[in-house]
Amino acid sequence: MTGPAARALEIEQLVVRYYGRSDDALHDVSLALEPGAFVSVAGANGAGKSTLALAAAGLIPRIVRAETAGRVVIDGEVALDRRSGEGVGSSPASAGRRQGYRAGIVFPNPANQLSGTKTSVREEIAFGLENLGVPRAEMDARIDRVLRDLHIEHLADRPPYAISGGEQQRVAIASIIAMDLPLLVLDEPTAQLDPLATLSVADHLVQLAGEGVAVLAAEHASAVLARSRNTLVLSGGRTVSLAPPGTALQPAALAGTGLESPTLVALAAAAGLGPEAAFDEAAIAAALRQSPSANADAKPRPVADAPVRAWQPVRAQPPAAIEVRGLVHRYPTGVEALRGIDLDIPPGQSVAIVGQNGSGKTTLVKHLNGLLSPTAGDVRVGGASVAGVPVHRVASTVGFVFQNPDDQLFSRSVEAELHFGPRNLRLPKADADRLVEAALDAIGLTAERAANPYDLNVSARKLIAIGSVLATDPAVLVLDEPTTGQDSPGIDRVGAIADMLHAAGRTVIAISHDMEFAARHFERVVVMRLGEIVADGPPSATLSGSRAELLASTGLTPPPAARVAALLGLDLVPADAAQLLHGLGTTRP
């Protein structure tokens, strides 16, 4: 049976407009998923991906109130039926009163997806099964299967709140998958995962689709996009294209969407390959080897696309070398997160710290401003030990941007939020004003200076959090996962800020799971595994294809262009397609 009733999801001319907004979050979007389909959704932040995910899971307008039009049918059950002829309506009168739990949805924020009442991961996964009335006898088999499929058996007996964010996210995904629903919707499920965990989730989605589950995944990660059968590209709430990812994500197809083509797709296009080979690294390498002419005119991509002016330091910060000696940190739970770290960072260096979820990256950087005290060892900044110095005093030298902006923003306007740091440091008003203006310019939100931060999306809020620390003009800027949840323009903006501060002689340290970001914007990469540093050096030495095995041991992969370079036998770590093509051009006779 191939009619509409057999479809896992059918969306017809869907319009969604949130209350108080003058523009549609989704406008006239149509989509159908047969059982076993795997469709990814790409788009810049604000393109409507999350709204589509909520609607596809039957949560709009039943739970999330909005004005709607169009029709949504999930596995044969009507979730919304307001055809365009009936106008946009706010009452879900004709919507399915309660979905028969035909669709599961995974959200980006792991902590808020946990039940909050369970004391082990195994029981957390069982929570959804209990609610659906699954017989007790069936539960263990289902739980064991998802634990195995997502490679999280080792977490089974751990309390969900005591594991890392990346691990929590895999538990959240496992919890929904275990419910065995015909439609699985995922909204940026891999935002907090390291590259290998992302690959593992992507592979599992393929497996689920193979078993007949329809999968709809809104994602930025190219690993997930590549494995989908079709990609829906959204821009401004409207459909741009729906085609296989190799076609939908071509550079020409993304024009005007604010999105960048994934590196492999751009390389395949440059090598003259068809869309079917857009993510095939071996085919791309072979094609590039045979068509050197494709690279002749390649120019290296500018270091930063985002227009950011040079940073003019206002405060006369003395050089602040960072010296970490024999650093051990043991949490009260007994977990030894750092096992004897030695690290020297000279003033003005830009350093990316990479490693799998739970490898100790955040624990390490929290010692740089005294948020954590060493169990053993010493941390010195600018020659002085940080131990015992109040955090707010160290903040004058070491600026620290947390991963979640909502843990710090409270002011009524973007501008007021940016004044918070300089006011705490008691900077003269003229200096504070100059720094705030420069920071607003750097984060690209000068026009939104009067806006309430919470009226902006989470991507903008992350930039505001960065700007609020930037406005203190720190000698050392520490960024914890600054690219999480950012689209390609957002990542470029963050990278440009890092480059700008580095060019001004400040030290920039960033924790990241994004290997392209690390290779492109940082002169040094520190690789961590289980609380130890296992590699340290320039990207060319740490992220090359020859280090793939070492990187894999800590959940990482070389950047896609570096993997292709390795297949070509090149000793390069290009961060993106343009750098590889340029490298090819210069290394060939």
Binding site: L59, G104, A162, L425
Partner: protein, 263 residues
């Protein structure tokens, strides 16, 4: 299970092994008893709760939570009554216009003792009871699963909120906010600390409600249970004793009100 979750501390002592239902009954008795029994019983109750907590292997964290943490509440009760009890009183000592009086202490100390005793039993039960066991027990005893979840979730929200408050404090200190020191500095820190806590909690509530929906919380299906909480003969005995003790409390209360029982 080897890690703490919320206020619960893993262990294998007798209190940990006791079924949550009799523990809940003992908790109700333990909170009511200090306010019903004569004053003379209060020291015995406090010592008894502490002995029970320690014999159950709750250790130093229990002493901290049951004896030291409540001082924030207990000390003001003693001091306010001790210094400001109305009327002409027998002065123990005076600091300027402030005088600590016998009558004030006689009035304040029993109240403080009652609060301390109630804390002692509550902490012992909370630290020795897995939240999900409590929820399952309530459901097995006929409580609506949704109601049980909401109650449990509210209890578990306290450590979650404390955790979030800790993260916010870290984030604001990292932006140069002095969160300690002079009273004026502490006052200035209130908005930057409470603002994100309130706004973030509202965002969390929205996200958590969506996530609960995604986990079938309102599916309407007859709920099943993964975790089976067993009831041993000992649990039955303790339940009966606790019910008996609870039944005696109104009798004691009436006896005290009618003057049949002094204190």
């Amino acid at each position: 299970m080897s890690e703490a979750v919320g206020f619960f501390r893993p262990g294998a002592g007798w209190l940990h092994r006791l079924n949550p239902y009799p523990k809940l009954l003992l908790l109700v008795w333990g909170v009511l008893a200090p306010f019903v029994l004569p004053v003379v019983a209060i020291p015995f109750l406090i010592v008894g709760y502490l002995a029970a907590g320690l014999s159950a292997g709750l250790g130093r964290p229990y002493i901290r939570a049951a004896l030291i943490a409540p001082l924030v509440v207990v000390l003001p009760i003693i001091l306010i009554n001790g210094f400001f009890y109305p009327g002409r009183n027998e002065v123990i000592f005076a600091i300027g216009p402030l005088a600590l009086t016998v009558q004030g202490l006689v009035f304040g100390l029993p109240i403080a003792g009652r609060v301390l005793a109630a804390f002692g039993v509550t902490v012992a039960v909370v630290m020795s009871t897995r939240p999900d066991d409590l929820m399952e027990t309530l459901v097995q005893r006929g409580t609506n699963p949704r109601l049980a979840f909401v109650v449990l979730s509210a209890i578990q929200a306290i450590p979650r909120m404390l955790d979030k408050a800790g993260r916010i404090l870290e984030a604001q200190q990292a932006r140069g906010l002095p969160a300690s020191g002079s009273p004026s500095a502490r006052v200035r820190a209130v908005v930057p600390l409470l603002g994100p806590l309130i706004i973030g909690s509202l965002i969390d509530v929205r996200e958590r409600s969506l996530a609960l929906e995604a986990r079938g919380f309102s599916s309407g299906a007859a709920r099943t249970a993964y975790r089976i909480v067993e009831t041993t003969p000992r649990d039955v005995t303790v339940t009966r004793l606790a019910l008996l003790a609870l039944a005696l409390l109104p009798i004691v209360a009436i006896a005290r009100l009618t003057g049949a029982l002094p204190g």
